[in-house]
Each structure stands twice: as structure tokens, then as C-alpha cells.
Amino acid sequence: MDEKRKILIIDDEPDLLKVIKNRLESWGFEVFSWTTGAGALKQVLEIRPDLIILDIMLPDINGYDLCYKIKKTPEISSIPVIVATAKQEWQEDMGDIGRFAKADDCIPKPFEPDILFEKINKLLSK
Amino acid sequence: MIKKVLVIDDNEQDRKIAERYLKKSGYSEIVMAINGQEGLSKVNSENPGLVILDTMLPDIVGFEVCQKIKESKGPQAPLIIMMTGAVDAVDAVRARQSGADDYCVKTADGGPLLAALKNISEKDIGPQT
């Protein structure tokens, strides 16, 4: 029995969450979602997803800090994280800042589905 | 006690601002003059107890107007506060030499003018209420 890989999306946009969930499920993933920074870490520890897609603009905290925290927590630090954002300057600096938060990859919004697919597969195959 | 105030300034905005802060300090009778000539004639016809005088007037130098007022009216001369758009030490001295009783910077919030008016009322020669 083929076990589905789990992806956790952390994003506060309900419409976008619904739509991306659909896309990821069509690719054969089991998708979990969370909409705030608060409690996100706990979710990760409970669900233990195979990959996390994390939006930077969360209502309560800065997504990079969350990413950093995830990477600093030993039980979950190996889970690959893709950071995503629609915000202007973060799109430009994403390379650098993403690296500092120890994110594994980054993707701007609106995104190209093919590119997202590529990035997810690359990280999961490691 | 000062009953009437004369404002001599060629800029409408500045006249309005002066009026606003004069009213705020309790002076209700305010007359206007838009140049030195008019100012001098109104000093005679209106007999103000206080004059707010702009240093830069189109026809006569502000300091000359000040001097003329003080000289012509002698001991009955009104108090004169000179108002300037810029700060200049030489001008300040000149204002005093011309007989001005105070010399203030023009600002939108009227800080210096209000302070000068407060000074006058503290010396018990404020507005007649």
C-alpha cells in the first residue's frame, strides 16, 4: 500500500489554501493546513509532515521566525520547508533571508504549478 | 490696557494667522493694514495700543515704520511687536534700535507671537477685557 506523503501548508488565505490543497491532492499528497503562527509548531510536531509550505505573511508572526524555530527543533528540523510570499521586498531578498532562516527553498506568489511541483519533488527525493 | 490692535503685513496668510492668535490671547478689536503707508495712517486714525509689524513691507522698510510710530506718538506710542520670516541677529538689533518692544519669528503655530503676547499681559498691560 502506497503511503501518501504528507504536506502541511501554513497560510492565512482561506481561498488560496483550498485551491492549493486541491492541486496538491491531485498530485497524490495528503494535505494538512494551518492558518496562524500560533500553534503552528505544535501542528508540525503532531502531524510530522514530509514537507512544509510556509507563507511569510502570517497574521500574528513573521514566517521566517517560524521557519527558524522549526529548523531549531531537533525532532522536526529535517523536514524540508518551502517559504512562499507575495510581498515585494521579500520576493527579492528571499534568496538571502530564506537562507538565513534555513529554509530549503522559496517560491514567489503567484506561482507556476510546474515550478512548485519540481521543487517539492526535489526536496522529497533527498 | 490695550483695546485695539493694528496688524501691518502685506501677506494675507500672515495677517490671518496673527489675527487668530491675537483673538486667542483675548484681543477682540483688530484692524489691518497691508503696507507701511496704510499702517502709519491707521496708527493715527485708529490709535491702537499694540501694533504687530512685519519687517518686510513693500513700500517702507519695517524698521522705519517702527521708528516713525515711536517718534510721532512719543510716550503715547503703542507697543510694537515686529514679526519676521527669518532669524537675523543684525535685524534683531535693528528692531530694538528702532524702538520695537519685541521681535518674533513667524510660525504656523504662532508659538513666538503667543509668547510675546503673554509677556505683555504679564506686565499688566494686556487686552482690555
Binding site: V19, A86, K109 | V90, A92, A95, G111
Partner: protein, 488 residues
């Protein structure tokens, strides 16, 4: 005022005479005819001689002429007074010494006092003036502070606006695009070809909208002065060549040729690669769009202090009157040859912004029907200047946050010799590897930035002591690294 001088004979008595002489000798209302003292060695006599005043043992020696004389007797001897008392006649007055001296001194005092009064009045006016000036300056200073505060608030608002707006615009666009894509690609069930056609149109237009948003935000950022260039020394020729290659398929599909003209030697320019590629894409893209046949000419000429790049085409050309408005926002001239590639009208404005940020110039030459040529210049920089600029920028950023900063700079000696021996590529990659390795040793989030033959790191919240110990550790790591490299 011409005053008649008073003639005086002083009958001396030592110190008093000396004092009086010193007081009066230069006074211009008094003329001292002589000083009298029987004792020729008296202090008074000595003083008079020093001042050039005649002296004698007897006052009568000075009484010769017919003039008014006052005799001041300081001797206080009874005989002298008696004798002098008999002397008063028309010409000679024996005055009470005190009275005459006092008279003179009083006059002097009066004069001095009125002078002092005048000076004091003057000083009062001056100090009043100064006080008022100071008050005025303080008022203006407060106004200035208020304005500054407003300005920085405005600046912060601008930044917040740009980042918020970008987020607000792009988020719904992301949702729209994804939903339409999924429907078109059949994830929600089958669709007819006609439906797919319409949905594709929707996608194309969301893409167009995204391009406009990107450009608009780019331009707003440049105009707000919020664009920071990420500059590196770059080989401009290879940059231009690489960019040209990305157009090769489009050019061949339109049957257009490309003609290249480069200066023979490679030129290094301190520039932001991504941004200059953006400019080249814009210019070459425009040329390709508006040219139906012929060729696109690209040239890069080294002009000493600066590089001159130009993109020319054999397209429709631009009217001379329109050349001025070319770099303004939302200008589109004529129909694009390819209707699919509708531009945003902002590309040239952005290119101008980028070139000018690099302190270069951009302009166009064209005649209707005779093609167009876009030219831009970029100043060249030398490595030392580059390093200095980078460090200054970092320091400035650090100052803004008011933290403790230390800057560590490592220079590689013999860089040019190494470059010659091993070739630039090898040395650059070596330095990059060294920098990456050293970066691991730095406190988290700090970077080691490489610039030509040196690398530096700006360390936040680091004291001098910490920095020095870090430096030692880094040096030992570096030598380990070098040993390993040499062995391999």
C-alpha cells in the same frame, strides 16, 4: 572740542607727585610746566624726568611767562603754603590742589561715564538682539525637528505602502490563477475545447496583470528611492552575450539577424547583474517587438571611464517629437508587431531608473522609418572603491539600527600574481569557497562578503574584544583551509 589747556606747576612730595604725574601727564586739558622739589633725587623728580617734564628746585623757575598758571602744592609744608598764599596775582593762581585736581578728574569722569552709558545702552540693544535671535533659532530648530519627524514617518509609510500593496495585489491574483489553471487542466472535471480556450485567455490576462503589477511596484520602488542595488564586479561583455542568447529563438522565428560589436578587451563594471539584465531584456525585447525585418545590433564599447552599450534595430523608428516622452510612464508607441506581447508601458521608465541608479545615462536616437537606437552608459569602478562603498553602506545600515558593530576585513595578498598564474576563474572560486567556509564560523545570520581581492564581514552586537578573538579563529581556519587546498 578745543579746550584751553590749564598750565600746572606741581610742587612735589614724593609718591603723591608720582601718582599725580602718571594720572595727568597724558591728559590733554592739562599742561605740566614743571615739577618742583628741593630734593633732586625725590621719586617725583625722577618720575618727571622719565616723562620728559622739566624739573627744578624752585617753582619760580617756571613762572617766567605771562600765562595762567596753577600751582598744585603737594608738599603740605606750612612754609610753602604761606609763601604760595602770598603769590596769587593775575597770572598765577594758587589753587587748592585738591579742588583743581578734582575738577579735572570730575570732568574726565563725566566724559567717561557718558561714554560708558552710551556703550551700555548699545550693549543692551545688542544683547536683546542676540536673545531674540537665539529664541528665533530655537523656534526654527523645533520646526525643523517636526518636519524631520514627519518626513521619516512619510518615508516609513511609503515603505509600508509598497510592501502592503504588493501583497494585497498579488495574493488574490495567485488564487485566481490557480483556480482557473486547475479548471482548464481538468482537475475539476472535463472541459470542452472552447471552454479551455476561454480559460487560457483568462490565464494570459492574469499573467499580463501580474507583469503590470511587478513593473508598477518596481517603478514605485525606484521612484521612492527604496531600490537597493546588489552590485558586483561583472564582465559586461559576457553578460550582454548571455542575454542576447536568450533571444536567439525568438529572433530566428522572426527571421531577424543579430549583429554584435564589442570592444576587444573584457571590461569589468560594478553593477547589479539582475537589474542590468532587466534593462537589456527591455531594450532588446522592444527592438525585437517593433522590427519586422532586418537586424538587431548590439554593441558594447569600452570608453575608458565608462562603458557604452547600445541596442539598435531596423524597425519602424520613432517620431522625433515622441523621443522626449519615451522614458515616461505608460508610453506605448504604435502597434506591437506581435499582439500577444502587449507591453506594460513601464519598461523604459524602469530601465531609465535602473541605469540612473547605477549613475549612468540612457537615451534614444531614432527617425521615423529608419530604425531606433537605444544607448546607455555605465561608469566603471575600481575594486577599492567598490569595497569602500560596500563597507560604507553596511556601516550606514548599522548606524540606522544604533547597534554595536565591528567590521572584519581580510585581504588576500598577491592576488594579482595568483590571478595571473591560475587564472581569474580559479582564484574567484577559491575565494568564494574560503568565504563560505569562514561564514560557518561566524555568528548566525552574519555573512562574509567577497569583493575582488578582499572579503569583509559586518558583525552586529560584537565588541572589539569579541571581534579580535573571532579574527584569530578565522585566521587559523583560513590557514587550515589553505593547507588542505595546497595538498590537494
Amino acid at each position: 572740542m578745543e579746550q584751553a589747556k590749564i598750565n600746572i606747576i606741581i610742587i612735589g612730595a614724593g609718591e603723591k607727585t608720582k601718582a599725580l604725574l602718571e594720572l595727568l601727564h597724558s591728559h590733554n586739558t592739562v599742561r605740566i610746566l614743571g615739577v618742583v622739589d628741593k630734593d633732586s633725587s625725590a621719586i617725583g623728580i625722577k618720575c618727571a624726568q622719565k616723562l620728559g617734564i622739566p624739573t627744578a628746585g624752585d617753582y619760580r623757575e617756571f613762572l617766567a611767562r605771562n600765562e595762567q598758571v596753577e600751582i598744585i602744592d603737594l608738599s603740605e609744608s606750612k612754609e610753602a603754603r604761606e609763601e604760595l598764599g602770598r603769590l596769587s596775582n593775575g597770572n598765577t593762581k594758587v589753587l587748592d590742589s585738591r579742588a583743581s585736581i578734582i575738577g579735572i578728574l570730575l570732568q574726565e569722569l563725566n566724559d567717561k561715564t557718558s561714554e560708558l552709558e552710551k556703550i551700555r545702552a548699545e550693549l543692551d540693544i545688542q544683547s536683546w538682539g542676540l536673545k531674540k535671535t537665539n529664541e528665533g533659532i530655537r523656534t526654527l530648530y523645533k520646526e525643523l525637528e517636526k518636519k524631520n519627524e514627519e518626513l521619516s514617518k512619510l518615508d516609513q509609510l511609503k515603505s509600508d505602502f509598497l510592501s502592503t500593496v504588493s501583497h494585497e495585489l498579488r495574493t488574490p491574483l495567485a488564487t485566481i490563477k490557480e483556480t482557473v489553471l486547475q479548471i482548464r487542466d481538468g482537475l475539476l472535471g472535463p472541459t470542452t475545447p472552447r471552454q479551455q480556450e476561454f480559460l487560457s485567455m483568462c490565464i494570459d490576462n492574469t499573467e499580463r496583470l501580474r507583469r503590470i503589477i511587478d513593473n508598477l511596484l518596481d517603478l514605485s520602488k525606484i521612484e521612492a528611492g527604496k531600490t537597493e542595488l546588489k552590485r558586483k564586479l561583472t564582465d559586461i561583455m559576457s553578460l550582454v552575450k548571455r542575454t542576447c542568447m536568450t533571444f536567439s529563438s525568438k529572433l530566428s522565428s522572426k527571421g531577424l539577424e543579430i549583429k554584435i560589436n564589442f570592444s576587444p578587451e573584457a571590461a569589468e563594471v560594478y553593477l547589479d547583474e539582475d537589474k542590468i539584465i532587466q534593462v537589456l531584456n527591455n531594450l532588446i525585447g522592444n527592438s525585437v517587438k517593433f522590427t519586422k525585418q532586418g537586424f538587431i545590433g548590439i554593441s558594447v564599447i569600452d570608453k575608458g571611464d565608462f562603458i557604452e552599450c547600445s541596442v539598435s534595430d531596423t524597425g519602424k523608428g520613432i517620431r522625433e517629437e515622441d523621443l522626449e516622452r519615451l522614458f515616461s510612464k505608460f508610453q506605448q508607441f504604435g502597434q506591437a508587431a506581435d499582439p500577444e506581447e502587449k507591453g506594460t508601458g513601464l519598461g523604459l521608465a524602469i530601465s531609465k531608473g535602473i541605469v540612473e541608479l547605477h549613475r549612468g545615462k540612457i537615451w534614444a536616437e531614432s527617425k521615423l522609418g529608419q530604425g531606433t537606437r537605444f544607448i546607455f552608459t555605465l561608469p566603471k569602478y575600481n575594486p577599492r572603491q567598490v569595497l569602500k562603498e560596500r563597507i560604507t553602506d553596511s556601516l550606514r545600515a548599522g548606524l540606522r539600527t544604533q547597534e554595536l558593530i565591528s567590521v572584519l576585513i581580510f585581504e588576500l595578498s598577491g592576488f594579482s600574481a595568483l590571478e595571473e598564474r591560475l587564472g581569474r576563474q580559479k582564484v574567484v572560486s577559491f575565494l568564494d569557497d574560503l568565504a563560505k567556509m569562514l561564514q560557518e564560523e561566524l555568528p548566525s545570520r552574519e555573512r562574509m562578503i567577497v569583493e575582488a581581492d578582499a572579503m569583509f564581514s559586518m558583525l552586529k552586537e560584537t565588541t572589539k574584544a569579541q571581534a579580535l578573538s573571532l579574527k584569530d579563529r578565522l585566521l587559523s581556519c583560513a590557514s587550515e583551509f589553505l593547507k588542505k587546498k595546497r595538498a590537494g
